[in-house]
Symmetry: D2
Subunit: 353 residues, 4 copies
């Protein structure tokens, strides 16, 4: 247990720092015979990659993944899939100014306390650059789970949010840079992000995710409940501060007579306050969850802070950063969700007669 592995049977281990030579990972446990569509994986990476639009960081990375094992003649072989993404646009000098500074609400101080040493360039291991490897693993999980759909989207940026009662226009999502399944709200959010960026500031948001096609029976109570593992997966993504499933925090104000999801005779339910999970196990209804992201900590403003000698200093944000992580977080949320589901799917197969 050293923190770089996710999953039990469908298991991703990642390595890599923001400004190292390369990132990569090993995906173990993917069953043999899964067709690997490298274009699909490239598309998933493109949804996450920096520099994809005017409202993301301008670091230019191709994020091309090289597969070195576990795939033979286009199919998985059941052996571990080793992959590498070479960094091409590191500008480590951009970070000389933070070598001896603890940036507010970054992991500089805590990494120093934990390890006693720190690769300060671009946040090192604490950078969200690492999530590129999660997207690779998640993409393969999606290919394995081909009958299950994962649809995450931006539902809130700052105070602008989708109305729960509005239907989702799924086709719209990838047409706008904020990844909102609603053209009007997408424009409003984009405008807000641009305004915030201009001010050298950043803004938080919320990503929602829906999983459809999941059979009933996945999840491993009492500790490895489906939503507990989904929650952990989401909370492990950089900048996440909250997770809720189904009714979530709104459940606190509800009565049981209102919250209970009554069964139809086909064993679907009339409502879905449970969010597709009962007792930690999927019930065959769509999974619905929401993930809260804080505003990015790097500002293009002067900030007071402290250096490694505990002296007060003033720092000025440099480097290339996102004013709002939510648009690029959408594919990461899907990737982690797919990894969770693939793992529970394999675990459940142990009960095959």
């Amino acid at each position: 247990m050293a923190g770089n592995t996710f999953g039990n049977l469908f298991k991703l281990t990642t390595f890599g720092e923001s400004h190292g030579e390369a990132l990569g990972g090993i995906l173990e446990g993917c069953p043999a015979g899964v067709s690997i569509d490298e274009n699909f994986i490239a598309d998933e990476l493109a949804r996450r990659k920096p520099g994809q639009s005017a409202i993301t960081t301008q670091r230019k990375e191709q994020d091309k993944v090289h597969f070195y094992s576990g795939i033979f003649e286009g199919k998985t072989t059941g052996t571990p899939i080793g992959f590498v993404i070479y960094n091409t646009n590191q500008k480590s000098k951009d970070y000389d100014h933070i070598k001896s500074v603890y940036r507010p609400s970054h992991a500089d101080f805590t990494y120093d306390k934990k390890y006693g040493i720190r690769d300060y360039r671009g946040g090192g291991r604490s950078s969200a650059r690492e999530t590129a490897c999660r997207v690779v693993g998640g993409a393969i999980a999606k290919l394995y789970l081909k009958n299950i759909s994962f649809f995450a989207y931006t539902t809130q940026v700052g105070s602008i949010q989708l109305d729960a009662n509005e239907g989702l226009n799924r086709e719209e999502r990838e047409k706008n840079p904020v990844r909102v399944p609603h053209a009007q709200k997408a424009m409003e959010m984009e405008r807000l992000i641009k305004k915030i960026r201009k001010e050298g500031d950043t803004i938080g948001g919320v990503v929602a995710c829906e999983i459809k096609g999941l059979p009933a029976g996945l999840g491993e109570p009492v500790f490895d409940k489906l939503h507990a593992q989904l929650g952990k997966a989401m909370l492990s993504i950089n900048a996440v501060k909250g997770f809720e499933i189904g009714s979530g925090f709104a459940a606190a104000t509800m009565r049981g007579s209102e919250h209970n999801d009554l069964f139809n005779t086909d064993l679907s339910t009339q409502t879905n306050y449970s969010g597709g999970v009962q007792g930690g196990i999927s019930n065959g209804m769509p999974i619905h969850f929401r993930v809260a992201f804080k505003p990015v900590a790097t500002l293009m403003q002067k900030q007071n802070t402290v250096d490694t000698n505990q002296k007060a200093v003033v720092m000025q944000g440099k480097g290339r950063h996102d004013p709002c992580v939510v648009p690029r977080a959408v594919p990461i949320v899907e990737a982690m969700a797919a990894l969770v589901v693939a793992d529970f799917d394999l675990l459940q197969k142990r009960f095959t007669k």
Copy 2:
């Protein structure tokens, strides 16, 4: 990975069904030499046990724990601590009526789908009775972590909530049955719960938790971040629908310039929107998190549902149930938090020079 184990080095495995002969667990990895105060453990169990007040279920269980190993002459020996709690007040006949019925928003249907078989008495393994074992494990974790304090409390029942700006009256918490550190709000909440119960209904709520005394450096990025593991721990508790740390969902509406926690020169921070965790690692500030609970699914009302043959039936709630789980959830939240912290504490020791 079969779902009944929590933790890596400080590791709890539990067994037991609601109406079996006994529940119990094995706590592995607790270092040798920890003084075991059995009275303290009994007190912790008493905070969770049924029948403790007018607003909880009236099932009468003594919840006496028997330790069978791992403790010698009052101290832990480093070997596994095996313990058993015998059930004394099972009334399995209370559950004959649900043998072939799927109760709405319970785990009856999903356990059947997962395992193909189900101990229907009192919910079997899906019952929150299992959490008694978590409280035993958590109590030992607290004894191990004697310089770290865990303070959970009820902060919301239905729409009644503590005002974030009001101070906590910590001594008050155990004086009222709702476990609110605020006498006035406690009375209001208690009144609401009693009203709800009288109507045969149930109500949700929120538990907040504060951990103090934690050193900086705990947590294992990138996947086993401190708050990710706390989140998983909380979401694994029965009836939990949401988890947030620090600013939580409110972070979505905040700007970075507002949300960043500026350092003092002693490396504490002026604000604590991060909730004591940066980059998945504790920063030495108090940990703050909140956990949302749904209303209990068992109602003392008639409900439409479906039986195991997919026929529509009407069921009437029986058995002994809580109208609101939040008061009894408080010690469970603390127990799980203590288990998480003890595990990360041991993990961090591998870096001792």
Copy 3:
């Protein structure tokens, strides 16, 4: 990872010391629907229990196992099976004399160094009494794996050994107290053990084991190879000093042209030097392995040793001990083998289409 758990999906965790109030364990991951024949489990325990014959320790333990969960109406439910064996014949006073003495070739010194504290009564956790719990877990594994047979037997005591070319008389094995599938050799070995005991001494031996009915495909290379996990399982049994599979150490002197197992057209092999495993995966042939046991360290003779203050002392063996562990080790070897196979069986099911 605290050392008291074996297996991944079919997973046994044990607790208990030689002279504590009780021993027990939790078996997780056994699929639902397995019929639990409690008589069979009692019989397996009886094969291991002390006092079963004139050549074993005379400690009298009934070794009755109490199941507290995971079994409902005679069948497993898929939830963890908690079980307890109460100790009834502890004579802790027998051990007062070793409280401050390190017995030669026992774990007294190493437990003290590791944990800084030690339950000295009967060896505490280091006692082979713990293996009773393994036999319970193994018995359930056998019930799960009903088409696979596990046949372990004594093949050597001191210098008396079965001739590899002699056939096994399987029915004979349980008819003699040494558990040798050969009446004549059994008598010779029994005579030797009695002679050794009379001299206050002890003697080593070898247990062989054969597993039949295993399908091809079990094992998880490259680290969790079938024979690697079998080896670990056996080496974890008290007093074991060696493990070999198939040709074992004899392979060192063989040529490839002699050692290669040529295929028949039904994909069985003409010889079985591989012992049923190729590349870490079962090949459908019988598994054959051998396990070497050292002589018991407790002698009924005076021995020079050292006390906890590093003073030389003379100690006299007391307590009740086996002159040779091999006869009672036979069911333990089978139990561990069954646990290994059940785990790999469940792991392999993840590849079910």
Copy 4:
């Protein structure tokens, strides 16, 4: 648990096939601040690499390792160390002839049964080429454990063996291609291997290993005993058929009065039949174990075998192979031993006060 990870806290995960583009791994959990001497690691790889002498396979691989993360300014940072070794001398066409043939005593058949698909080129994942990654991990473990020495050596090839009573000439070991710490025996063994090779045949052997400098207290009973984990580590190496520690199989013929290791007053022991481990925990004495290797299965002779359609065929060995694996296995045995010790070392630190 998908079989490609070894260790718990000091944890190596590997990927790669014999004739893929690259092999590699991720080493997690190495504490921060360890100086990485890349020359040392290269030297370790050179001891294992093919083509190093006239008695090994003539495949030419540079086996240069590229580190991509976890090392900053020459020191480990505590984050995962990702590394890649590019294959440069694959001759996949050499393997076209085995595409549809099951080679005797190889893993061709079992991989097909397990995964339903197989990268047949050079044995794919089942090739010992994978062990290069183990040597990288083991080399870092050695750098971490700088006060502990690991000395493995060839002690037997065919029937030629070192006499247990002869002293080891440690300096001699790396001077001869067989890696024997005895010049005369080295020559004899080399002559035998050359003779065997000329005949198109192969031969088995034994590697012994000695670990010095290990403190007392390492090992995690009852299942993860030090020698149990060492045994698993060794048995996971290609071609290994047996493992013994201390007295090993010879213990079977010994009496307790002879086998017990009596203490000196400094708590060392007068003899070391236990091989440095008591009750699964190191006792501060040198660790001694032995590992048996079978003869390589690929012969340069015609062999009868069966193809994937279960037709009898005659195959002729091609490719580049070792006539005896033992000389190149020596550094692999050390590497795995170092990984085991590093892991237990970190585990033991959880008990630091």
